[in-house]
């Protein structure tokens, strides 16, 4: 397999609702990414696109619909989708194309427009549940996350007021992110006092619905060395899917994230992730998810994530900054685009180009992770400078 580098990045502003069409958003992010490494569309061999359920947009063949905005015209083009895990699967999908030797350059773009579904995109999720044994009970996604959060909390005795600190940290970090939708200085009390959605989940425990797009450019080593002085290498990739029988799994721990992480660590030659990973962007669509994922990724021992948070380890100035971007909770959560936004954060941090968000200590190894489907998929990318 050939070495693959990220050489350019671009992303749009994230808002609850934007006027631009999905294609136009994809165009903006892709154009910015190409410009950032002074490449033209004619320099690109192939395009991959990540985007979540067609039901959000009400557009079937959404990949094909988006291809023009993604630079896919008359190029090898492929869309991929693994639920909320899509955004960190996107770089993996692009990596296949380049690592295989088939292509030297690849556009990896993800777009999501969640505002099109009325009254709320949550309704579009009803059909992800089993049509016979679950749908007639009218479940919603928030329930299954609240169900998982409750299991996680009761297993370890975690307190809501401690978990709320993830929202405080991430929304504050997002104040320094140029694309952020919900950067804010809030307190633990604000989170606890925000309206109950589905206990134990309150309003401020959840990431917003968002519109947005994000893009990275991948290149094989000989191209990367020519294009940039600071290539960021994709050194490890991993992904895994658990059973769809989610009510027969023990939800306190994301085994599938561990499987994906182990695969990525093995490939990257990482033996002690908590020491060798300097900076991480675990997927944080809900407050507890950041902690759940930190445990699944082996960045602390099982049951150790809350203490790590309370000790300040995951702050931007801590020993293992987590979600220095502001994460899904702060920057926003246009599902697939969020994953690439996280990859871009690690890319920028490892290059020393994160501006006000730059973590101290010149990190050289970072990780981005996403998660989705019926609490079922883990996707992990390890990057090094």
């Amino acid at each position: 397999m050939r070495k693959v580098a990220i050489v350019g990045a671009g992303l749009t502003k994230f808002y609850r609702n934007v006027q631009e069409t999905p294609k136009e958003l994809a165009f903006e992010a892709t154009k910015m990414a190409l410009d950032s490494c002074e490449m033209k569309l004619s320099d690109i061999d192939c395009v991959v696109h990540g985007t979540a359920p067609d039901a959000f947009d009400g557009v079937h063949m959404k990949g094909e619909y988006l291809s023009d905005g993604s630079g896919g015209y008359r190029k090898p083009y492929m869309r991929h989708f693994v639920g909320g895990g899509t955004g960190c699967f996107s770089p993996i999908h692009g990596w296949f194309h380049v690592a295989s030797g088939m292509f030297d350059t690849c556009i990896v773009v993800a777009e999501e427009k969640m505002s099109s579904a009325y009254p709320h995109p949550a309704g579009a999720f009803l059909t992800i549940f089993d049509h016979t044994t679950e749908q007639p009970l009218y479940p919603t996604l928030i329930w299954i996350f609240a169900i998982e959060m409750n299991r996680f909390m009761t297993t370890y005795g975690y307190k809501k007021e401690d978990i709320a600190r993830v929202a405080v940290k991430n929304k504050k970090n997002a104040m320094d992110h140029p694309s952020a939708q919900l950067g804010a200085e809030i307190t633990v009390k604000d989170v606890l006092d925000s309206e109950i959605m589905a206990w134990p989940v309150n309003r401020l425990d959840i990431s917003p619905t968002s519109d947005g797009a994000a893009c990275i450019i991948l290149a094989a080593e000989h191209v990367a060395r020519r294009v940039t002085e600071k290539p960021i290498w994709i050194d490890g990739v991993g992904w895994a899917l658990d059973s769809a029988y989610w009510t027969t799994r023990d939800l306190y721990y994301p085994d599938y994230v561990e499987v994906a992480a182990r695969q990525a660590y093995k490939m990257a030659g990482i033996k002690e992730p908590s020491k060798e990973i300097h900076i991480a962007e675990p997927y944080d669509p809900f407050t507890y998810k950041e902690l759940h994922h930190i445990e699944g990724l082996g960045l602390c021992k099982k049951g150790g994530s809350v203490q790590m948070l309370l000790d300040g380890v995951t702050q931007r100035t801590g020993n293992l900054p987590c979600c220095p971007s502001g994460g899904a909770l702060g920057v926003g959560n246009p599902i697939a685009a969020t994953g690439i936004m996280k990859v871009i954060e690690i890319f920028s941090q490892l290059r020393g180009e994160a501006g006000k968000r730059q973590v101290p200590g010149k990190p050289t190894c970072g990780l981005a992770q996403a998660w989705g489907d019926l609490m079922q998929v883990g996707t992990v990318v390890v990057m090094r400078s």
Partner: protein, 176 residues
């Protein structure tokens, strides 16, 4: 190159809900009317038929010996066809649960107006293997007094109202 405020400023134009609803920005609306008839297969087909009889049935894997509910024709872990059908109890324990103030469309329930929050739960069914749960609603219980390990029992619709559906069980309620 750092991605700056200036670079992202023109990538997207913010809209408020008002601008769309009041027609200040043009949009096209469509309400899909789609209908599906989902076949259930032999495993869930028998499961539903037994629910109509007021019973819960599981299926056993002869390799890992798990008694699985909902029943399935193959074991997803051992990757072999499953064996015998086994009736399990209509009682169980609460594994994990939610006190929900929103419905499936994320629309808020009128809690202040006296509507009871919804309390969906994963219920581990007695007689099935440990950890084997199903999703269902809890009722006849104070939402704030539900706890992990609480013993519950199915409340069935009267036989003449049952249709062979998961909703033939109205909900689960606590028992001593």
């Amino acid at each position: 190159m750092e991605i700056t405020e200036k670079m992202v400023a023109k990538t997207a134009t913010k809209l408020s809900a008002d601008e769309i609803q009041k027609g200040k920005v043009l949009s096209v609306k469509w309400t899909p009317k789609l209908k599906y008839a989902w076949d259930n297969g032999p495993a869930i087909g028998r499961y539903l038929a037994e629910l109509k009889n007021g019973k819960i049935i599981a299926k056993k894997c002869d390799k890992c010996h798990r008694i699985m509910i909902p029943p399935r024709m193959f074991c997803e872990l051992c990757w072999v066809p499953t064996g015998e059908w086994i009736y399990v109890q209509d009682t169980g324990i609460v594994n994990t649960w939610v006190v929900s103030y929103v419905d499936w469309k994320a629309t808020r329930l009128d809690i202040e107006g006296g509507v009871r929050p919804l309390t969906p739960a994963v219920i581990e069914i007695d007689g099935a293997s440990k950890g084997m749960g199903i999703l269902h609603h809890l009722n006849d219980v104070d939402p704030w007094k539900i706890y992990r390990g609480m013993k519950v029992k199915a409340v069935w619709k009267p036989p003449e109202e049952r249709t062979g559906a998961i909703t033939d069980i109205k909900y689960f309620k606590p028992i001593k």
